[in-house]
């Protein structure tokens, strides 16, 4: 039997009206008889995709791209202006942790209140209560008023309740980015359990690493439309390109283009372009630059990121204690890396040209280039260390 999708989004559009001077009280309404002008703003335009049962889909996009609006429409909080959303199964939308928590009530009272709002019955909450409190690590404080909680405790309790609701479809907005490292790991583990139990999850997040770690599929929104959809890696790459060209939030300051990166090549020891490198072999990063105006003492940097978006290696002309001096016209800078001490996996390369101290950025290609390190031995870990084996009798 072909299972019907858990969530089916069909040509959904959402228009918001932004009123500049809308009468928000009867008094104003009476005093200002002419109607106020409203500016229309389409938060979503013809968005359509399905989420299969048991699938985990990451929704990404810059601020204002419509992710949260879409999540609210799926969750039934907002009504679409056009189109249709069909969902199969009990939905829990975690748009805010501790929604409805009241500071004057105790932790215990708030757990029951919050759980019922998220759709748990009293009996179900009774059964899960100890788990919830244990998960939040708040046993000694559960009968204190929530107003005495620290913000971390508040958020932990909110999350603990949220993950103990029992939905078939879970909508999560940015809430995974709470708490300390240990608590985050616990949250991720919990989401994984949801996945193993075959629940459908839609995740909105800024944390690209999270999407790569958790999601089966990603959908990228840009200005209310779907910009990319499908394989997580492809979508994330598109996300980077769009972000950089249009908004460039990864870069400290705007790229001035005083110096432009014309091209970047990855070369092996013979100077041939490569896509695959074996561990311990050399790799050269060749950066061609053009100065659109003379620049004094620029720095060229290159950084490698692993598949989980962690910085693996970074090098720069300043680190190699090489001053480029005054740059005019074109220039080729090559970093000759003597060895690739990494295990198998895909690595992304970022190249930037900037002033010393990064207060000015001339050009920045964020993870625009990729290559694979291919280690047929399948060594696990993070670094590739050349090793020899010696066995002797004692």
């Amino acid at each position: 039997m072909a299972a019907a999708p858990a969530i089916s989004i069909d040509a959904v559009s959402k228009r918001f009206r932004l009123y500049h001077e809308r009468a928000s009280s009867l008094k104003e309404r009476v005093l200002r008889l002419r109607r106020t002008r409203a500016e229309e703003f389409w938060a979503l335009r013809d968005v359509a995709f399905d989420v299969g049962e048991g699938e985990t889909v990451g929704l990404i996009g810059a601020n204002g791209s419509g992710k949260t609006t879409l999540l609210k429409i799926i969750g039934g909080i907002l009504r679409p202006t056009a189109g249709r959303v069909t969902t199969r199964g009990r939905i829990a939308a975690l748009l805010e942790l501790g929604a409805g928590f009241h500071p004057e009530l105790t932790g215990r009272e708030n757990v029951y209140l919050n759980a019922s709002i998220l759709g748990l019955s009293k009996r179900e909450t009774d059964r899960r209560f100890d788990d919830i409190v244990g998960f939040a690590e708040l046993e000694p404080f559960i009968d204190n008023q929530v107003k005495h909680y620290s913000s971390g405790m508040f958020v932990r309790l909110g999350f603990a309740v949220a993950v103990h609701v029992d939905p078939e479809i879970l909508l999560v907005d940015e809430v995974l980015a709470v708490g300390d490292e240990a608590f985050q790991r616990k949250c991720i583990a919990r989401v994984r359990r949801f996945q193993e139990e075959g629940r459908t999850i839609v995740l909105v997040t800024h944390a690209v690493e999270r999407v790569r770690e958790i999601c089966d599929r990603a959908v990228m929104l840009d200005g209310g439309r779907i910009r990319a959809s499908g394989d997580v890696r492809d979508v994330l790459r598109e996300f980077r390109v769009v972000l950089l060209q249009e908004r460039a939030p990864f870069v400290r300051g705007e790229a001035t283009q005083d110096i432009e990166v014309l091209g970047v090549a990855l070369l092996d020891s013979e100077g041939r372009p490569v896509k695959r490198v074996r561990p311990a072999k050399p790799l050269s990063i060749q950066v061609d630059l053009k100065a659109n105006r003379p620049v004094d003492d620029p720095v060229v940097s290159a950084a490698l990121y692993d598949a989980r978006d962690r910085l693996a290696y970074k090098v720069g002309t300043d680190w190699l204690e090489h001053a480029l001096g005054r740059v005019e016209g074109t220039l080729r800078v090559t970093f000759e890396l003597a060895t690739m001490p990494f295990v198998s996996g895909r690595y992304h390369l970022t190249v930037g040209v900037h002033s010393r101290g990064l207060d000015k950025v001339y050009d920045w290609h964020d993870q625009r280039y990729a290559f694979d390190v291919d280690d047929s031995a399948g060594i696990e870990g993070q670094v590739w260390v050349p090793a020899k084996l010696r066995v002797e009798e004692l």
Binding site: I73, P80, G83, V85, R88, G100, E104, E109
Partner: protein, 295 residues
């Protein structure tokens, strides 16, 4: 866990109210309602020394003020004024606090409305529920007064109490649903409601013998008009049941000695309230889909 699959379709059409289905949905969310009522009442009395006693002090204070004013200054001449006043002011307070709470309920719970999907009716209903709890405490004061004065209130007229209460709640819910939705769009609605309640209090026979005064000074037609006030009918029924009791002297202060007269008027008011409730509920339901956007 729920085994049957909940299929939900959302389109751009504003939803149409199907009473039976919506009632089932509300029943499904009854625990939210109970928890929100509990929250309202708990929050109201937390961090106060007297706690629940405030609920009971309130009518006692009103009583003291009105007693002094109407016994020594204005000389209303109502026998057993304490019982008369309590019988009227307790249901009135239920209506007034319920309506004030309901009106502000959706806006006050804005963070919840914009983040969680649940039937929005729950919010005004929980405010009304909290008013009912408060009414329960205040009724204790009323009962205590009846017992202390050994007032002869036992009698067949007591059947009017549950009837009047049900009709009052129907009417209150009908009005509260509309004002709470209206307050989302026009935030000063609740000021207007406060003003309206102030005027409403004085056209309702709580501190004076309304029908008698109106009939004597303005004539029979004015009395008909006066009795169109739904709250007048509810309050009069409470007064007939508790104050009227079996005292002939007390009955002379009321418009009609017969129980049927009150029951008939309550029945008519109940029917009108149900109709009104259907209309305002439908409007509320239509508008509730956009509450999250307006807040």
């Amino acid at each position: 866990m729920n085994t049957e699959t909940e299929l939900l379709v959302r389109t751009s059409e504003p939803p149409r109210l199907r009473v039976g289905r919506r009632l089932r949905e509300l029943f499904h969310h009854r625990e939210v309602l109970v928890n929100l009522i509990r929250k309202e009442t708990k929050v109201k009395y937390k961090s106060s020394v007297l706690g629940v006693a405030w609920s009971m002090l309130n009518p006692v204070l009103y009583l003291a003020v009105f007693y002094v004013v109407f016994t020594f200054f204005l000389r209303s001449g109502i026998s057993n004024f304490v019982v008369y006043l309590l019988a009227g002011i307790v249901p009135w307070t239920l209506f007034a606090t319920g309506l004030q709470g309901a009106t502000g309920s959706v806006v006050a719970n804005g963070p919840l409305v914009t983040k969680v999907a649940f039937p929005r009716e729950i919010l005004p209903l929980s405010a009304i529920g909290a008013a009912v709890v408060n009414f329960g405490y205040q009724s204790l004061v009323l009962v205590a007064a009846l017992l202390v004065f050994t007032y002869p209130f036992l009698g067949p007229a007591l059947v009017l109490v549950p009837l009047a209460l049900v009709v009052l709640l129907l009417f209150l819910t009908a009005v509260g649903l509309s004002t709470s939705a209206f307050n989302v769009r026009y935030r000063d609605t609740h000021h207007l409601v406060d003003l309206a309640l102030l005027a409403w209090f004085w056209v309702t026979p709580i501190v004076y013998q309304g029908p008698k005064v109106v009939a004597e000074n303005l004539g029979a037609r004015a009395l008909q008009l006066y009795l169109l006030n739904p709250l007048a009918n509810v309050v009069l029924a409470f007064q007939r049941a508790l104050y009227g009791g079996s005292s002939a002297e007390a009955l002379s202060e009321l418009p009609d000695p017969g129980i049927a007269w009150y029951a008939g008027r309550l029945g008519a008011l109940g029917a009108v309230s149900i109709l009104l409730l259907y209309v305002t509920w439908r409007a509320f339901y239509r508008m509730s889909g956009d509450f999250a956007e307006e807040l």
